[in-house]
């Protein structure tokens, strides 16, 4: 199953675009070699702090996930695996989960990790900052004995949902003795964390790099294989390409270099590029309609917006083939919940025009039906290009467009606080579990003014709310799957927000690096098992 999915992803992206991938499937060979320093980078900038309790985006997630650990992780084959938890079990009514905590784990400062740390982290950090939206039914956590905690929920909670919560990228176990009694957001330890992971924080040279060293007392025997891990920040893709070429950086995650450089570097035979390792954090570029504009009252008008846009073109030209057309709010690599059997709003300008005519918006004398403000969020350079294309595509069906591409802060404010747009191009990254990451873009309780990456379209439909509520508590996996399929059918037809393209994130690594891209969210993995071949 796993192989099939990753192959499909693989062939859809890398092979189809003629990019050299790798001949090996697992990026691992032989027995691990010990020692050495691995220098890593990623396709973004330096984080605001090494660890941000509320998440703070991919950058602090990348830097903190090497130090902190979660209770569990998901493996490439889709199975869940305990990390700081050894096991978990639901009660018969699925309202409590009993979790066995791993023994013999020490924090980097030598103190033992205990159930108290877990209770503190869940109730003070997870519930308040890190995974608050996944814990709305959370009713408390107890520790009946020294290696057990009990999660209590006010409603039945599906197993997959519970396990996914444990695996959430920043659902870390924090040292209570460092954080208790302080404001976790401004705790100075956020810039020099004390945690349990395979890597110990050593130094942060601002504007340059983090230096992490091997945790000699790590609970997993033999790991980490490397002595040192450097996370280096390079401002621009060309600089990263040059540094990788010079052998100064071994691995770059999340699109470290420009697409033409991927081809050039893999062509030398010294590098491999892979789309693996992003299955639990699939990015998309989305288009959403602001329901507050009466033009969008009829769903046919919203559908017409999507019919007007050639998603293939966006995938091929803007993303150089490192993307595929999006068809559903659940993304195609999601093998638990994705269905291709949805309402189709593919490229069909004639149909778009017909729908708009029928909805009562004929072309006026100036050739326009109505004019909309299109806001394309400027945090990714590509969004500006997608915006330029969508503007043209919509103008072709008689919709006048004023395009703005504000920078990151303004975009966040205008889309998610001021709702100051008619159409918005934004991005989201979702794990397999659709609740709440995916569903909160569509439910009424997702309309939270000022909270970014939620329901900004203002779409509110009691049927969808009810459906999502039942997805949330349905504990039978098969029934749950059917409900999620139904959700996808409704949303694709209602079209308040749909992905234009699913992005294929790329990891570029030297062929020396072993064991990489072996986690469905590799950027947020601990990297204890990486090693360097000579």
């Amino acid at each position: 199953m796993t192989i099939k999915v990753s192959r499909r992803v693989f062939s859809a992206g890398i092979l189809a675009t003629g990019v050299v991938g790798t001949s090996r499937g697992s990026f691992a060979q032989g027995t691990p070699k010990r020692g050495g320093t691995l220098v890593a980078t990623w396709g973004g900038g330096e984080p605001q702090a090494c660890y941000v309790p509320a998440g703070g985006g991919s950058s602090p997630t990348f830097s903190s996930s090497k130090l902190f650990e979660r209770l569990a992780r998901r493996k490439m084959d889709g199975a869940f695996e305990g990390v700081l938890a050894e096991s978990w079990k639901p009660s018969a009514d699925f309202k409590t989960y009993t979790v066995k905590i791993r023994k013999g784990v020490k924090f980097h400062d030598g103190k033992d990790m205990t159930v108290d740390d877990v209770v503190y982290s869940v109730s003070e950090i997870w519930k308040k900052y890190a995974v608050a939206s996944a814990l709305t039914d959370f009713a408390g956590i107890d520790s009946p004995d020294a290696d057990t905690v009990v999660f209590k929920y006010s409603n039945p909670t599906p197993e997959f949902f519970f396990a996914s919560t444990l695996c959430s990228p920043v659902a870390y176990i924090l040292p209570k003795h460092i954080y208790a009694g302080s404001d976790p957001v401004t705790n100075p330890a956020n810039n020099a964390p004390i945690a349990t992971g395979p890597w110990k924080f050593k130094e942060w040279v601002r504007g340059s790099h983090f230096e992490y060293v091997k945790n000699e007392n790590y609970w997993k025997k033999d790991e980490p294989y490397l002595d040192r891990l450097i996370i280096r920040y390079v401002r621009d893709p060309a600089g990263r390409a040059a540094a990788m070429e010079a052998g100064d950086i071994h691995i770059g995650v999340f699109n470290p270099v420009a697409p033409p450089d991927i081809k050039r570097l893999t062509g030398t035979g010294k590098f491999v590029a892979t789309p693996k390792g992003y299955e639990e954090a699939v990015w998309s570029t989305t288009l959403e309609c602001n329901m507050r504009n009466p033009v969008f009252a009829k769903r046919e008008v919203r559908q017409a917006m999507f019919h007007a846009v050639n998603r293939e073109f966006i995938a091929k030209t803007v993303y150089y083939g490192y993307a595929r057309p999006g068809t559903s709010p659940i993304y195609s690599p999601n093998k638990e919940f994705f269905t291709a059997d949805t309402f189709k709003t593919g490229f069909d300008p004639k149909k778009a025009a017909a729908l708009l005519d029928a909805a009562g918006f004929p072309k006026k004398a100036d050739g326009k039906r109505f004019t909309l403000n299109l806001l394309s969020a400027g945090w990714f350079q590509e969004n500006g290009k997608v915006g330029a294309y969508v503007k043209q595509a919509l103008e072709d069906v008689g919709v006048g467009i004023n395009l703005t591409v504000p920078d990151r802060p303004s975009s966040i404010k205008r889309i998610y606080t001021d709702y100051d747009f008619d159409l918005a191009i934004s991005n989201q990254a979702n794990p397999s579990e659709p609740v709440p990451s995916t569903t909160q873009y569509f439910t009424t309780d997702g309309i939270l003014k000022g909270v970014p990456f939620r329901n900004a379209s203002g779409y509110s439909n009691p049927d969808v709310d009810k459906l999502v509520a039942s997805i949330k508590v349905e504990t039978d996996p098969a029934k749950r799957k059917a409900l999620v399929f139904e959700f996808q059918k409704i949303i694709t037809q209602e079209a308040p927000l749909l992905p234009l393209v699913e992005l294929e994130s790329i990891t570029l690594a030297s062929t020396k690096v072993q064991n990489h891209s072996n986690d469905p969210n590799f950027l947020a993995a601990s990297w204890g098992d990486l090693w360097l071949a000579s």
């Binding site: 030209t317 103008e395 591409v405």
Partner: protein, 279 residues
């Protein structure tokens, strides 16, 4: 007679003549952009990243999305020239206003005006422009105003100096004794005599404004609905390994335009301030 003399002096500077002709050409290009290229220049019309000459339909090639670079350059000429002219107009209005009042009235008015000019010269200009544009929003109007705000000080100083030397001349004193209002004296008597050197400076401000605008757009803070030359350079920046022409072509356009404006400025200087000719 005087006019012929002016033209003659201007034309004697061969560089200025060439510059003026080229600027005229760019201006014509800008004026008739919609005639040559009736469709929106930001339209995707072909395959992406076609090199100049690769497809005869796109003599200067296409950019990363498949937009016609020639069309964007021609339409960009309009945006670029208009921004330059308007920014220079803003700077000239502020500069002449402040300079005239300072030079005519003198005393504490002059002191305040000159301190203000010094203040605006103290703040690093491009940083000021960027901050204004970011804070007030990336629209053409804001960019024009921001450039005007940082460019008025030399004009004010020049105007002030001219006014200082003119305000005590006989003809001004005659006007004053006739009971003419200060405002009329400033506008209708002194200003016309003070203008020639100011015009030279204003023409140079146009060139400076074009450079400012291109830097702002290059940094991605320009107006996304406008195909300005600076933005084209910025857009092409990620592709210098494969398609460096996307950066090169609009940059050449900026350079030629600015160069010609400078040449015209030199020529105007020669023609209007003959005493400074050999500088």
């Amino acid at each position: 007679m005087q006019r012929f003399e002016f033209l003659g002096r201007f034309a004697r500077n061969r560089g200025a003549l060439v510059g003026a002709c080229l600027i005229l050409l760019v201006a014509l290009m800008a004026a008739f952009a919609s005639v040559f290229f009736p469709t929106d220049p930001l339209r995707i019309v072909g395959l992406p990243e076609l090199w100049p000459g690769e497809d005869p339909e796109f003599p200067l090639g296409t950019d990363s999305l498949g937009r016609d670079i020639l069309s964007m350059i021609v339409h960009g000429a309009r945006a670029t020239l208009l921004i330059g002219l308007f920014a220079s107009a803003v700077a000239t209005i502020i500069g002449v206003g402040v300079g005239a009042i300072a030079g005519y009235f003198g005393g504490w008015v002059d002191e305040i005006a000159m301190r203000a000019a010094e203040l605006f010269q103290t703040i690093p200009n491009l940083i000021f422009v960027l901050t204004i544009v970011v804070i007030l929003g990336s629209t053409l109007t804001n960019i024009v105003i921001a450039i005007g705000i940082v460019s008025w000080t030399p004009i004010a100083r020049m105007t002030r100096a001219e006014f200082l030397s003119l305000r005590d001349r006989e003809f001004v004193q005659a006007c004053r004794s006739m009971g003419m209002s200060d405002f009329r004296i400033i506008v209708s008597e002194i200003l016309p005599n003070a203008l020639p050197p100011v015009i030279v400076l204003s023409s140079l401000v146009v060139a400076g404004a074009i450079l400012f605008e291109s830097a702002v757009s290059f940094l991605g803070l320009g107006d996304p609905n406008v195909a300005s030359w600076g933005r084209l350079v910025g857009d092409g920046r990620q592709l210098i390994r494969s398609s460096w022409y996307i950066c090169a072509i609009p940059g050449i356009a900026i350079m030629i335009t600015v160069l010609c404006l400078n040449l015209v400025g030199d020529g105007l200087n020669d023609a209007l301030n003959p005493k400074l000719r050999d500088r």
